[in-house]
């Protein structure tokens, strides 16, 4: 086998398996021809890179960018879209109802307020305050008297 045949065998090897007598001749040529041996080694190591490619890691922000682009062309997606139409109509109605019930309930609670009881409590506090105030005055008077 000469150098030209050896190179043809290298090309043949890329798609098919070489058969016995030819393969042995090819190996024999490589062992005796340093140029072809080097060529074959370089070719083989380059082709093997196709089988061991490094994978690109996903970008965690890619979705946000896609979403922005879709929004820009007026084709956005939505968190609520796709809900059945009765849900889309019912949801605001239920919210308004909840608010009204809350307001009404608050108003009713306010009506439980007992005006009379509150008046008595206020009077008691006021009286105590006056008593206390009087006591303070008493002390001042006592001090004045001591002088």
């Amino acid at each position: 086998m000469n150098c030209r045949d050896a190179r043809n065998s290298m090309i043949f090897c890329s798609t098919e398996k070489m058969k016995k007598p030819e393969y042995d001749q090819f190996l024999e040529h490589l062992s005796s021809c340093s140029q072809c041996a080097q060529l074959y080694q370089q070719l083989d190591s380059t082709l093997s890179l196709a089988d061991n490619r490094e994978l690109v890691q996903p970008n965690p922000f890619l979705y946000t960018r896609i979403r922005e682009k879709l929004d820009n062309i007026g084709q956005g997606v939505s968190k609520n879209a796709g809900l059945p139409s009765y849900q889309r109509i019912l949801r605001p109605i239920l919210l308004t109802l909840g608010l009204l019930i809350g307001l009404y309930g608050g108003n009713r609670l306010g009506n439980f307020y007992d005006a009379k009881q509150q008046e008595q409590l206020t009077t008691a506090l006021t009286t105590e305050f006056f008593i206390n105030d009087m006591e303070m005055e008493k002390l001042e008077v006592q001090l004045l008297n001591d002088q």
Partner: protein, 193 residues
């Protein structure tokens, strides 16, 4: 979540389903684009376009095929269009230089860091050489070879993505392997001479 649920959710424009599609298939789309473009930034840009196109044309998707097959097809088409529109001159001149062009020209690939083949480390040179050899193939051979060797798709899957017969795909990959080998061999022979 099944593919059918995913598709129906996106068709009713619900965000969580579309987000799930992007998260589930981003590695597939991104790596396919990168296999053609050899540049992360370009691959990410095209990946975004792939998902936007998928979102806008999902109603055309035929449910008898797999979502991944359909996304591969969009990714391949978008990548090839990108090469045609933006990188045509760059890649062609790189191929000419690498495989027998004028030595005064510098090697250029999508990656701006790879300026001159002579300055490249051995491993980098091999990667660039392989990428350029594949990029120099006729379009169908390049797609079939890339999907087979880089994306590790079976011949049957490539048949679905490319919408060709099994015999055609086998023929394309066979010719692609021979052509890539010839290109690489010729480059090293010139270096030895």
């Amino acid at each position: 979540m099944t593919e059918t649920q995913l598709i129906e959710g996106i068709l009713s424009k619900q965000e969580k389903y579309f987000e799930e599609l992007v998260n589930r298939f981003q590695p597939l789309v991104l790596n396919t684009c990168n296999s053609f473009l050899h540049n992360r930034t370009d691959a990410e840009d095209i990946t975004q376009e792939v998902f936007i196109e998928a979102f806008l044309s999902l109603h055309k998707f035929k449910k008898e095929s797999k979502l991944s097959t359909w996304l591969y097809r969009i990714a391949v088409n978008k990548s090839l269009n990108f090469i045609r529109d933006n990188k045509k001159r760059k890649i062609i001149s790189s191929i000419e230089v690498f495989f027998g062009g004028e030595p005064k020209h510098k090697l250029q690939l999508a990656d701006p860091g790879l300026e001159d083949a002579g300055d490249l480390a051995d491993e980098e040179e091999k990667i660039v050489l392989l990428n350029l050899a594949v990029a120099s193939l006729p379009k169908n051979q390049r797609v079939a070879f890339t999907l087979s060797k880089f994306e590790k798709l079976s011949y049957a899957e490539i048949t679905d993505v490319m919408e060709l017969s099994l015999a055609s795909v086998e023929g394309l990959i066979h010719r692609a392997k021979r052509n890539v080998t010839k290109k690489i061999l010729s480059h090293y022979r010139k270096k030895l001479a």
